[in-house]
Every structure is written in C-alpha cells, then in structure tokens.
C-alpha cells in the first residue's frame, strides 16, 4: 500500500502522516515513512526528536549521480533512513541546501 498525504500549509499533513505510519506499523505492517517536504519535519511528529531529524541525510544526496552502481531502494532506506517508534523506518527525500533561482 502506498499513501500520499497532501494539502495546504498548516492543515496537519505531517501530524496525520506520522499517526498513520505508526498506527499501520502497530498493526504489524512494515512501514516506510517518507518525508517529501523540502522543510522536513516528519521526524518530529514521529517522535525521533529534533537532533535525529536534523541529522537525516536526504535520499537525493544519498543516491548521487551514479547511474551504473545505483543502490536499490532497500539499501538506501536501510542505510540512510532512521528508526522511529513502533518500528517505522523514516527516510527523507530532499532538503534544501543551496537553492537555484526559479521554481515556486
């Protein structure tokens, strides 16, 4: 099952996602919580704390430009994700470090 949570800023996407992820994990499913926000806070709502949330390496950086020896999804999530309560595995897609001009 793949679920995406979307909506306007401040409407509660992150809190909803975190509760969904932990509830699904408690029911015995294997869950990856994916933070796709360029201002990633899902770690806070899952309960791993601020330092661990800030320490996450984004998958985009982890994948790099290497095509030939590209890592598999499992490898990446295992290596660059973080463990959150109830057995949820948290991974972050991107984090803004040095933005380019343009895209709104």
């Amino acid at each position: 099952m793949k679920i995406a949570v979307v909506g306007k800023g401040g409407s509660g996407k992150t809190t909803t996602s975190a509760i969904l992820a932990r509830t699904l994990a408690r029911s015995g499913r294997s869950v990856v919580a994916l933070d796709c926000d360029s201002n990633p806070n899902l770690g806070l709502s899952l309960g791993i704390g601020m330092d661990a949330t800030e320490a996450l390496v984004s998958l985009r950086d982890a994948v790099g430009d290497e095509v030939e020896h590209a890592r598999t999804w499992d490898e990446i999530v295992l290596r660059f994700g973080a463990d959150a309560p109830d057995g949820v595995r948290l991974a972050m897609v991107s984090k803004i470090e040095d933005p380019d001009l343009g895209c709104p």
Partner: protein
C-alpha cells in the same frame, strides 16, 4: 517599504500580512501591493478581497543580452506600475492584491507565467510603492529569488519545535546565493501564549525577534468565517499586535 513574510506552513503568515497591508494602506497614501506568490493562494481571504483568478501573461517579460549573459527583464515599453494596475485586484483600504495564480496542469505550461511574476515584482519601482509579500510556507521559495524584492524579510514562527526548526533553517539559508542575506532577516513570534516565547524563538533560531502576536481566538474565528480579521475583530489583541508590528517595521524598513 518592501517586506516579505516567510515561515513554516500554518505559522500564520497570511493573517498577519493581510492585516498588515490594510493598516499600512490606512496610515500612508502610497499604494500598497500585497503579493501572494503561493500556488495555493490564501491571502485574498485575510485581506477581504474576493477570490481572483488572475494569471500573468508570460509575454510581459523578455530575455535580453548576449549569449553567455542573458537575463530576463520586463518587456521594453511596459511600465511595471501599469502592469500591476492591469493584473492586481483592488481590495478594502485600496490595497492591491497581486496573485501568482493557482497551479493548474503541468508546471512546464505555467512556468513562464511564474517567471513573469517574479521578474515583475523585482522590477516594480523602488519608491512610491509599498510591496508586502506573503510567500508560501517552507524553505524553497524564499531562497530561489522570490524574496529578492524585499529590504526586510520577516520569518513568522510559533514557539513550537517544528515552527522554530523551520525558522532556524530559514535563518541558515539566508546567506545562500539567492537568499536575502542574514542582515535583512528578522523574526516575529506568532500565537504567543507565554511571555517568554519571543525570547525562546530568538535563542533557538538566532534571528532578532522584533515583535510578538498573541494567541487570539478571534484569528481562528475570522479564518473559519472567511472574513478578514480586520473586519471581523478590529479591536482584537492580534490586530493591536500587528499595529505595533507595523510601527516597528516602518522604523526598520523605511
């Protein structure tokens, strides 16, 4: 005055900006342009302007210069003030709302219109206009050139971990290539219910906190009813706080 408000989604930027723009328009005769550059726009509600469906004609800008040094400018012969008059919607107290437009279809199709918007805002006359920007939540837009028009960039944050963390990230990104620079960025604490919230925010994010707005149920009530806070509860504590914020910012960004 040229000021942009940024911060985490839900921090309360739009209500503050809408109220701020109208109070500014009442206190000064120069036209106030309220800029909503969110692809999910909401500032119209906080200003009390009927919902609009504007989208800039991409042809108002053109690319000029030599091959290695090309740059986008407003099309020759166009007057930026005239373009604003054509596309902006006039609301209460004479505030003009300029809206980026809703994200419809593929980004590639509307990209040129978004670029035109960014260039137009940058080219508006330095004097005789007040520009007040309400940028989308998060860290992406303020540092991709969209806050470039502003002399002062105000981070709106609650004293919650996620909101303060966003403020600290915004503070750290201030010095990146298209960011506003650290010295042009300040913060305000919103939805404050503890007198120490402003200090906590300042200590956490490192930005100078120039004001606080209290947690005020009339803000939620106004948002729920879709009426501008200034019309729904003109004497509320939140309006009083934005009034004093206006005085502070007028002194900071003359």
């Amino acid at each position: 005055m040229r000021v942009a408000f940024i911060g985490k989604g839900g921090a309360g930027k739009s209500v503050i900006v809408g109220t701020f723009c109208r109070l500014l328009a009442r206190s000064d005769h120069s036209p106030v342009v309220a800029i909503d550059s969110d692809t999910m726009p909401g500032l119209a509600y906080s200003l009390g302007v009927p919902s609009t469906e504007t989208m800039l004609d991409p042809d108002i800008v053109e690319e000029v210069g030599e091959e290695d040094d090309r740059t986008w400018v407003l099309r020759e012969g166009l007057d930026p003030a005239g373009v604003v008059e054509r596309y902006a919607v006039e609301g209460p107290d004479g505030v003009r709302l300029l809206q980026l437009g809703k994200l419809r279809g593929h980004a590639r199709a509307i990209g040129p219109s978004f670029r035109a918007f960014r260039i137009l805002v940058q080219r508006l006359p330095e004097t005789g206009w007040h520009l007040v920007g309400d940028l989308p939540g998060g860290t992406r837009q303020p540092f991709s050139g969209w806050a470039g028009f502003a002399d002062l960039v105000v981070v709106v944050a609650e004293a919650t971990p996620s909101s303060m963390l966003a403020a600290r990230r915004l503070a750290r990104l201030a010095g990146t290539r298209h960011g506003p620079g650290e010295d042009r960025m300040v913060a305000i604490a919103n939805k404050v219910d503890d007198a120490a919230d402003g200090d906590r925010l300042q200590q956490f994010c490192g930005l100078r906190v120039i004001g606080t707005v209290p947690a005020d149920p009339s803000v939620r009530a106004a948002e729920r009813s879709g009426v501008a806070l200034l019309d729904a509860s003109p004497d509320s504590p939140a309006v009083e706080a934005v009034t004093s914020l206006l005085h502070t910012i007028t002194a900071e960004a003359p």
